[in-house]
Symmetry: C2
Subunit: 361 residues, 2 copies
DNA sequence: TTGACAACCGAAAGCGGTTTCGGATAGCGT
DNA sequence: ACGCTATCCGAAACCGCTTTCGGTTGTCAA
């Protein structure tokens, strides 16, 4: 393979130095705010660098300084290759924050036949990244186990079962679902069903715990058939709803682990001729824009995904910058979800006027 | 700033060479399949590298070889910071393909006060990327203009007005909307309205062209008030639908520029008491999973976003690899969207049995 | 005037690889 | 036994920038 010579095209520090009649070292120090360069020399160098459009090669700079200002993010491998909207927003926030800190974001996928840890390991070993962000944590997450002993800074969006010794930012899922149940109870509901996600996923587990705790605290008993786990897509939600509707004493409200599940549930209910919002209340979690577009609007616990992404980015960069200081504290941040009230949850058996079929004009 | 010395921790080629009793050059050539290294030496080096867990520093390698095997992707700056699902899937496909080719994907956002070209320029000048993928092209796209003269390989997902001299992969938007109109006409519709997007965006413009061409070809006239442009979110879709419903002679079908718009339209129709699928047909574009979850299911023109991402990745890597060959051909690929039939489009004035309200059990 | 001390800058050694070039060794024919 | 090639490997330059270290100046007090 022929060496790619960029010839005399690109502006190197050598040319800049020659142009200025200075040594490379002096130019470098001038541009990097070393105190031992005369003010006017600094100004002169800055000016020339600007005019000639000089930008130091990050590759060379990294090699010389022994740092890579790059954060890795490995897309969770899911079937169907769908990045859910929540992840997408986090990614956006993360990219924004990193751009502001002059760090890079390296996104990788997991090729078939490999696993995420493998991919992360390669990225670290080959020196491509100097830190990681992991999202969608499992209760026992091999990625976290791996990163713990890899000595690269990282922050998790979401906790794991044992989460004392690393940095994370999470939503208080349990409290959120306690709040959701309390809200339903406040509306008059006593019979509340639950469509839960994959219990391996930490957030699903915690939301489930919130549901269990709050129904118990309110003295609502969970009839057999009220709880469904492993609902991860709209289709599963639909089937679970059909099961629920078959119950002799069916619930008046359904709490859903995510907006996607809630939307699937609403669809299923509508299809079965149930009037959502009056005959059956539904609450989701995420605050997706889509929740506003469906009919009725989805009442949901919202989390500010973009902000989460930004904060996670801030933390991981901070962590990486003080990587030397021994036994540094880990940021462990818990944010609260907020209730967004729309039309899908109301007092039981209330018929809404808005749902009456009206004329065209 | 203290130099970060990785001490004796990391495995460098120097240590590997010393361990083997060979020179660094020999080890390097052995690992890089140079023909002038004895078979058994190669084997010995490979084995030792494996055992000692040696991975060459990509930074050093890049500096020495003068290449960066990295593709940049700048997230389109939109208000609301929402990566739409279509982009997310493309990103996933792109990341997958690049991972398979051992290229990196560098994702950046555009900080406030800057523009996309600026960000791309910095990435190029500082040598962080060796190629670009741009998505969501505008009819006149400054990013393309910039990349054209920047001499870095790139491929666009989506075309622009003048698109002869660069590589792109696009969906045949015009044909897709011709097909959609023909499908509706085949169902018996004659009065077809259109909810279009931002006409600056190339795909929106082409879909609009398809709508215009096909309605004309079929002799359907477009009544005043049938065409709405600039519909970019669910809210706008809702308002446009209300306008349409006010028309004295209102249409029997609405063709929507994206699934998101279609879903907003369906919501608005439902809210107005119109039975979607019988009283009014709706067709979208994208093939989002969400289209399956709503009620009725969304009939739509589907594009395989993940595959698009992969193919775009394949092309850009190929392009970058043969960057030397002069005046090389550009891949220019047009894929077709396919019609996914669900419940939202039917012959006009047909009442579907499935829409009848049924009992609970 | 001289010495001491700042203030500035140049020289040079890395960072961890790659690649060219030439030398040593071995194998071969005669 | 000799020379000649092919084969294989080591030496060294280099990629572009950073950073240490030491050497020149200039300034000011004694």
């Amino acid at each position: 393979m022929p060496r790619v010579r960029k010839q005399n095209e690109t502006m190197s520090i050598a040319r800049l130095a020659k142009y200025l009649g200075l040594s490379e070292g002096t130019v470098s120090r001038a541009l990097n705010n070393y105190p031992d360069i005369a003010e006017k020399t600094v100004a002169r160098v800055r000016k020339a660098a600007d005019e000639l459009g000089y930008r130091p090669s990050t590759t060379a700079r990294r090699l010389a300084r022994g740092v890579v200002e790059t954060i890795g993010f490995v897309l969770p491998a899911r079937d169907g290759h769908q990045i859910d909207p929540f992840l997408a927003e986090i990614l956006d926030g993360l990219a924004t924050e990193l751009a502001l800190s002059d760090w890079d974001l390296l996104v990788s996928a997991v090729p078939d036949g490999h696993d995420e840890v493998e991919v992360m390991d390669r990225l670290i070993q080959s020196g491509k990244v100097g830190g990681f962000v992991v999202a969608r944590t499992k209760r026992h997450d091999p990625r976290i186990d791996f990163l713990r002993k890899s000595h690269v800074p990282f922050v998790a969006q979401g906790r794991t079962e044992n989460c004392d010794d690393y940095a994370w930012l999470d939503i208080d899922n349990e409290k959120a679902f306690v709040d959701a149940v309390n809200y339903l109870v406040g509306l008059g509901h006593r019979k509340i069903a639950y469509l839960g996600g994959d219990p391996e996923l930490n957030y699903a587990w915690q939301r489930r715990a919130g549901y269990l705790a709050a129904t118990k605290a309110n003295g609502c008993d969970i009839a057999p058939g009220y709880m469904h786990d492993g609902i991860t897509n709209e289709l599963a939600a639909r089937e679970a709803v059909l099961e629920i509707l078959k119950l002799p004493d069916h619930p008046t409200a359904i709490l859903c682990v995510t907006d996607a599940v809630a939307i699937g549930a609403i669809h299923a209910l509508a299809h079965a001729g149930i009037d959502v919002g009056s005959e059956m209340s539904v609450i989701g979690f995420d605050g997706l824009p889509m929740g506003e577009a469906i009919h009725p609007g989805l009442t949901t616990m919202s989390q500010a995904s973009y902000q989460i992404g930004r904060e996670v980015g801030r933390i991981v960069v901070a962590q990486a910058n003080k990587a030397n200081s021994p036994a540094s504290e880990f940021s462990q941040i818990l944010w609260e979800a907020s209730l967004t009230v729309r039309g899908s949850a109301n007092p039981p058996a209330l018929k809404l006027a808005a749902n009456a079929k009206g004329g065209i004009s």
